[in-house]
Amino acid sequence: MPLLEVSNLTTAFQTSRGEITAVEDVSFSLNEGEILGIVGESGSGKSVTALTIMGLLPQPPARVAAGEVRFGSDVLTRLSDTRMQRIRGPGIAMVFQEPMTSLNPVFTIGEQVMETLRAHERLSQKAVYARALEMLEKVGIPSAARRMGDYPHQLSGGQRQRVMLAIALACRPRLLIADEPTTALDVTIQAQILDLMMDLRDEFGMAIIVITHNMGVVAETADRVLVMYAGRIVEEAPVARLFDKPLHPYTRGLLECVPSLDQDHERLVAIPGTLPDPARRPAGCRYVSRCRYAIPACTAAIPPLATYDANHTAACIRVPELT
């Protein structure tokens, strides 16, 4: 049985312009210990997917309009907040992009790690302190004992992200969701944090969902990749296959528009245009306004996710003739 199973998930928001679907008909599963990359640009729905799984979206204005999320034997989308609280921490934990705004500035980092432990585990004061210290050491905070009393503003960006990981992993979750964990960090620090995440995965064996717009992060960490565009999944494949043989025009565009260090290009192959306004999406394929392969048939209906090879799916009617 997969660890996490998301089925036809649709999350919508009530806005002044009516109801907007941020995530539409999203289905995927994740096994124990697996690393899934979810990639797409801002507005693709990847963060909202994660927040829906975690039950962190205030309902209203958000609502799960369709589908469900199964974690082990629990259907998360039907749980009360009290029950969901017990799953967050030891079941699923999350780290966010901006460590400064995710850490409480008026509490010490030690206190914030301990708070998680106290909320989810039954341990004595001494044991809570010892576990918190252990976690800070595990994530590579130097002089951890002294720094337990530091406040977030006294730490660098990279250190704060390490503290976020310590808080997330303190209760040994079975699933870690990392939402753009390295985006705000300098490149040498990014590399440290990615290494750290992978080391911790090796030690604790948790599954990870890495959400990013950076294909390099996916290349470094993921076993499998989901590509999202305008709220829907447009492609899913094992990571090497995605890079070797991207099927969906958007995936190809994403891979082509990033200059790599080992190749020279005259011009970057840019994807023209921008994401469609979520309140005014086209009836058919949402990528049609930016796709160099668009034909009239593309506007007729949203292309279904079709399977093209072992575990490789794509939502584009022109895949058979284009590849």
């Binding site: 640009e41 130097p142 660098s156 490149v187 590399a191 290349a219 260090l261």
Partner: protein, 326 residues
């Protein structure tokens, strides 16, 4: 060939108040420290480095947006640190800047036309048909339809706002443009559009760029030469192929090694022990002694802690400041 810009001994210290209530005093934040830099006419010099390295400060110094603490800057034959305000203003037509934050760089209360026309007005033009024509020409050049002239910044996406910022920077037809992380805040597909645009405009308008960025891939693509900064110092400069193929400075090597893989088969964890940098970037308020990189350098030697390395030139066009070399 005389460079368009040449600076030597360039230093900028910011006074930072510290010491709490009872022992208040100021210490210098050495944002840029004794830097020599040269940009040739028509080239793109890439400037890379991580937080606190001083690259943005260096960019602003070179166009005299902020005054240097020491050093001089020769721009197009004149030392701009010695000019009076009137002379400086005249020179400003030739040097412009594109900023990183497309949301903060445009006045939300000015229409697109007002924003792009402002430089013209500052330099003595009137708000007449000729100026409006020039604004329309710039809009077309940056790929925006002329009809957007009456709209306001909040109606545009990040990429479109950046185009407006570029139009504003180029309306005076400057010679030199500092591009201060112009694509860092944009999604990757939009980054590519803007990078292509900047390259096209460089060719059409004969521009010289200082391209400041932390994304090594983008810098490599757009630059001719690249300079690497660390904590206020330039540690290595070379033409781009040489820098990426044969980086000499350990920090440059680490930066390149830290770039995420282009393909899963190149996962770098196996390279980890060899080239990963440990520790955090020190504060520019308390830079390490001697070579500022010594606290993180995998090849640190005793001399590195005591003496700042001089800039040497191990090969033509390739400068590096490191005790391991020369």
């Amino acid at each position: 060939m005389t460079p368009l810009i040449e600076a030597a001994g360039l230093t900028k210290h910011f006074a930072v108040q510290t010491g709490g209530l009872l022992r208040r005093h100021s210490i210098p934040l050495r944002a840029v420290d004794d830097v020599a830099i040269r940009v040739q006419t028509g080239e793109t010099l890439g400037l890379v480095g991580e937080s606190g390295c001083g690259k943005s400060t260096l960019g602003r110094l070179l166009i005299r947006l902020i005054p240097p603490t020491a050093g001089n800057i020769i721009f197009d034959g004149a030392d701009i640190t010695l000019l009076n305000p009137r002379e400086l203003r005249e020179k400003r037509r030739s040097m412009q800047i594109i900023f990183q934050d497309p949301y903060g760089a445009l006045n939300p209360r000015m229409s697109v036309e007002d924003i792009i026309m402002e430089p013209l007005l500052i330099h003595g033009a009137r708000a007449n048909a000729e100026s409006r024509r020039q604004v329309a020409a710039m809009l077309e050049l940056v790929g925006l339809p002329a009809r957007v002239r009456d709209r306001f910044p909040h109606e545009f996406s990040g990429g479109q706002r950046q185009r407006i910022g570029i139009a504003r920077a180029l309306v005076l037809h400057p010679k030199f443009v500092v591009c201060d992380e112009p694509v860092s805040a944009l999604d990757v597909s939009v980054q590519a559009q803007i990078v292509n645009l900047l390259q096209d405009l460089q060719g059409e308008m004969g521009l010289t760029y200082l391209f400041i960025a932390h994304d090594l891939g983008v810098v490599k693509h757009i630059s001719n030469r690249v300079a690497v900064m660390y904590l206020g110092k330039i540690v290595e400069t070379a033409d781009k192929r040489t820098l990426y193929a044969n980086p000499l400075h350990p920090y440059t090597q680490a930066l390149i090694a830290a770039v995420p893989a282009a393909h899963p088969s190149q996962r770098s964890r196996s390279r980890r022990g060899r080239e990963r940098l440990a520790g955090d970037i020190p504060s520019a308020l308390h830079p390490p002694s001697g070579c500022r990189f010594h606290t993180r350098c995998p090849h640190v030697m005793p001399v590195c802690r005591e003496q700042e390395p001089r800039v040497t030139q191990p090969a033509p066009g390739h400068q590096v400041a490191c005790h391991l070399i020369g």
